[in-house]
Symmetry: D2
Subunit: 285 residues, 4 copies
C-alpha cells in the first residue's frame, strides 16, 4: 500500500516560487501530495522542504517525473533527493557488549516501526551472536585491537559494500572509527552518545554526570563525523535524576534514553525526515 509512495527532500537558497514550482511539477504528473513540510531559515537565507506523495495516481511515469523535478532543481539551484518507499533501505548494526540498543532496534523493526531491512549485525565481540540468530539476522564477528583496526575496518567495509548497506547504526559500539572509515559514509552513520551533548563528551559520561551532581541526565543521537561526539545532533532526551542515583542508577535510567533517542534517529533517517546544514539538522517530524 505504501509501495507507491515517494519522498522528496529539497534544500536551496530561499527565493520566491519554490513551493509553487515543486507542487506544480508533482501535480502536472498526477502525483498526490500526502504530506508537505517546509522550513525557511531566514538568518541563513535557506529553504528546506519535504514532500511525500502518492505515485499510484501518476499520469506519466517515474522517469518523466524525475526529469521534471530535475529541471526545477536546476532552475532553482536545489539540492534534492528522491526516495521510493518500495526501495527498502538496508541497515547494518554495529554493537559491542552492551545489547540494549541492539535488542531495541531489532524489536522495533519486527514491530514495524522501522521501514528497512536489518541486513547484518557486526560486532567486535561474539556475545551478540545469539541475539542476531534469535531475530534471524546474519552476524559477523570482527574482533579488533589497536594493531588490527585498519584490517578490521577493511573487513567491515567489504561486508557493507557487498550487502549494499545504506545506513550504519552504532548501537553502543565502543570503538572509535577511523576518519577514513567515517569519510566513506557521510551522513550515513548514526551514533548514540550517552549524555546530552555538548555536555560530557568523551568517556564515562554517566560518571562525569554523577560527579558533577546534575539533576538531569541525557542521551544524544547524531551523525558521525571525523570530530568525535561533534556530529550533527538528530535527537536528544533527558530524564530527572537526584542524589539518590548512583552511577549504576544513572546507567540504568540512561539505557531507556539511549534506546529512544537512537531508535527515533534511525526512524527519522529511514523516513527521509532529516536535512543537514551548518553542522546541524532540520528534522521534519
Amino acid at each position: 500500500m505504501t509501495a507507491h509512495v515517494a519522498t522528496l527532500l529539497v534544500a536551496c537558497q530561499d527565493r520566491k516560487g519554490l513551493v509553487a514550482s515543486l507542487a506544480q511539477v508533482l501535480y502536472g504528473h498526477g502525483a498526490n501530495i500526502l504530506d508537505s513540510d517546509q522550513h525557511t531559515d531566514s538568518v541563513a537565507g535557506m529553504f528546506f522542504q519535504r514532500l511525500r506523495f502518492d505515485l499510484a495516481s501518476l499520469t506519466t511515469d517515474r522517469v518523466s517525473l524525475e526529469t521534471g523535478i530535475r529541471e526545477v532543481g536546476e532552475r532553482m539551484a536545489m539540492d534534492w533527493k528522491l526516495s521510493y518507499a518500495n526501495r527498502v533501505r538496508r541497515v547494518a548494526i554495529f554493537v559491542s557488549k552492551q545489547d540494549h540498543c541492539l535488542y531495541d532496534l531489532l524489536l522495533r523493526h519486527r514491530a514495524g516501526e522501522l521501514a528497512c531491512e536489518i541486513a547484518m549485525v557486526i560486532s567486535n565481540h561474539a556475545d551478540a551472536a545469539p541475539i542476531a540468530a534469535h531475530f534471524g539476522v546474519p552476524f559477523h564477528h570482527l574482533p579488533v585491537t589497536a594493531e588490527t583496526r585498519t584490517a578490521q575496518e577493511a573487513a567491515a567495509t567489504e561486508l557493507i559494500e557487498a550487502a549494499h548497506i545504506d545506513l550504519v547504526v552504532l548501537a553502543r559500539y565502543m570503538q572509535i572509527l577511523s576518519a577514513a572509515f567515517v569519510a566513506k559514509y557521510p551522513s550515513r552513520i548514526i551514533n548514540i552518545h550517552h549524555s546530552f551533548l555538548p555536555a560530557f563528551v568523551g568517556a564515562n559520561p554517566y560518571k562525569q554526570a554523577y560527579e558533577k551532581g546534575v539533576k538531569l541526565i541525557g542521551a544524544t543521537s547524531h551523525y558521525v563525523t571525523a570530530d568525535l561526539d561533534q556530529g550533527p545532533i538528530i535527537e536528544q532526551a533527558t530524564i530527572r535524576c537526584s542524589h539518590r542515583d548512583s552511577v549504576e542508577d544513572l546507567v540504568r535510567k540512561g539505557r531507556d534514553l539511549e534506546k529512544r533517542a537512537l531508535a527515533q534517529a534511525v526512524r527519522y533517517h529511514l523516513e527521509d525526515r532529516i536535512l543537514l546544514y551548518a553542522g546541524k539538522t532540520v528534522v521534519f517530524d
Copy 2:
C-alpha cells in the same frame, strides 16, 4: 517588519492539486511563502493547510490576491480564512479571584509573546483591578449571582461588542457561561481546565486527583462549547506528583501547568495555527 505578513488557513475535502493551486496563486501575485504546513487526515479524507507569506513583494494588491484565493477556494470547495498581521487582534480576559493566569498573560503580552492588544479585563470580583491598572488595561467589574446572570452576560456582551473583541480568554473564570453567550462566539472563547481532560471533569479536579491517587496531574486548554469541559482540546500539559503532595501542593504545581497550557493556546490562536474539525483541533506548531 511583520506588518506585511499574512496567514491563510485552509480546510477542505482532500483531492489532488490543492497544494499546487494555492502555491500558484500566491506566486502569481508575487507573495513569498515563509512557512507552509500541511496535514491530510486520510481517515476523514480531509486536507488542512497553513500558509504564512510575505506581502512586501506583492506584484498586485491585496484585493486581487483575495480574489485569486476566493476563486481557488470556490473551485476546490475550501473553507479558508486570511489574516493580516497588521490587523491586531483584540482580546478580553475574564477572571475571578485567582490571578496567576491573568498575570501570566499580561506579562507574556508585555514580553512580546502574544501578538494582540489586551483590550480589557472583566471580572465578577474587584480583586484584579489593581493588576489591570498596573499593566494599563481597562478593568470592568461585573458581579454576578444566579439571578443576575443574564443581565451580567448582556453587560459583558455589550463591552465585547463595543470594543470589537476577537477573542475571549477565560483565565480561571469560575462562572459557567450560558449556552446563549457561548453561541455568540464560536471558536472564539478559550478556557483553561485544571485537569488532563477527559479525566476529572467538573468541580475540584485537584481534589479528585488527590483522592484517586494519580501520579501525574495535568491542565487542558480548550475552546468553549455548550458542553462543559468538552470543547476541542488545544493544549495539554502534565507534571509528576506523588503521595507526598497534598491537595495544596497539587494546586501549586497545577498553577504552572495552567499558565503554560493557557498561554500556549492563546498564542496558537492569535498566530492562526488552529483548525477545527470533528470536535478536535489541528494545531500547526
Copy 3:
C-alpha cells in the same frame, strides 16, 4: 553483597515515638540503617515508613530482631512486613499476543534491573513460546474461551501455587481475570493499562484518545482489584501527541510508555517500595 540486606515496611495510625521506636530496635540489634523514608498523611492521620538496613553487623540474630520488631509493632498497632533480600521473589508473567512488555521485562531482568526470578511465562496464545525459550524461562500455553475460563484459571492457579509465585505481572494480557482469581492474590497482581487513568477506561483507549483529540497519551500501571481499571495506581507516564498521529502512531508511542510504567511498577514492588491505603499507593522511590 546485598544478601545481608532487609527491608521493613510499616503503616499505622500516626503517633509520637514511631520513628524512634523502630530505629531503636534496629540499633539495639546492631542493624545499620541504609535508607529510611517516611511519610505522614496528616489528613488521614496515617504514618508510613520504609527502612532498609544491613544485617551483616547484627549483634543478635534474625529471630531476635523479628521478635523485637513484633513487640514494637504490637505496642504501636502497626501493620508491618519484613523482607530479606536473599529470599528472591518469584514472578509469573501473563501475556497474550503483544510481546513488547514481555521482552522489556525479560531484558531488564537480565540486565539486573529487577531483583527476582522470572519463574514462568503463561499465555493464552503460543506466540510467546520462542521468546521465553530465548531467555530460558518455562512457558505454559493455557488457551482460554468464555466457556473454559474457570478451568483455565484453575490451571494457572495450580502453576502459580506449585512454583510459589510471589507476583503476577499482566504484561498486556488481554483477558479479564475473574473476581475469584483476583481475590486469591491481593496486591500481588500488577497490570498495565494503556491510558492515563482515570481517562479512557475499558477497551481501545488509543482509539478513544484519537477520537477525543487529546494532546498527550499515557499509560498506567496498577494493582489489580475486582473493579476493572480501578485498582491503586503505581506509576503513570505521558508523551505528547498531535493531529499528525494516527491511531497506529499512538499505539507505537504508547508501547514505550507501557514498557516503562510497567517495569517501574514491578521494580517498586520487588524492592518493597509500595504501601497501600485508601485505594491508592505510597511509593517510596
Copy 4:
C-alpha cells in the same frame, strides 16, 4: 499553625545508630516527627538527614532540645543546623533589566509558595522600581560600572547587612559578582543560568544552543561560588526545541524554564531541603 515546626539538617560520616540517636532525642523531648528523609552516600561514606518535627507537643523547651541535639551532634561528629519556622527568612532579589524571574518570585511569594519575607529588590537599573512598588517591596537602585564595582558591592553589602538578609537571589542579574562579595555569603546566593550546565557556560547560552543545533534547551539554578557557572547545582529543567526555533524562540521557551528552576531552588533553600558536599547538593524533595 506551622509556627511550631522546626527542621533539623544533619551531615556526618556514616556510622551505626545515627537515625536512632536523633529520633530518640526528639522523642525524649516530646517532639513529634512530621517528615524524615535520609540519604547515605555509600561511595563517600556520608550520612545525610532532614527531620521536620512539631514543637507544639514539646515536654521540655527549645533550649533543652537544642542542648540534647548538640550533645548527639558532638558525640557523632555531625554538622547540623536547626531552623524554626517562625523565624521568617529574609530574601534580597538582585535583578537587571529582564524581569520575568523577578515577577515570578514576587507572585509565588504572594501566592504563599515561598516561606520568607522579600525584604528588598536591588538592581543596577531603575526599570524594576515600579514592579517592586506594585508588590510593596523596597527597591534600591545601585548602578554599576567596571570602575564602581567595589563601591557598588559595598553599598549592596551594607543594605544586606542592615536588613539581616538570609538569602540573596540573582534573578537574571547580569553582573558578575566579585570573589570577595561571594565569599561573604557561602551557600546563601542562588543564581539561575540559562542552559543545562555544564553545557553552554558563559555568555549567550541560547545563541550557543542555536548554533550547536541541540534538540533540548535547559536552565540550571545553583549556589554561587567563586568559579563562574560552576557552583553546586540545585535544580535543572529542559524543554524540547527544533530547527523551527529562532534564538528569540529559545529565549521565550527558556524564560519558562528559568522561572521554574529558580523558584524551585529558592523554595528548597527556604524549606531547608538542601545539603552540600563534594561540590554538589542533596535535595530532599
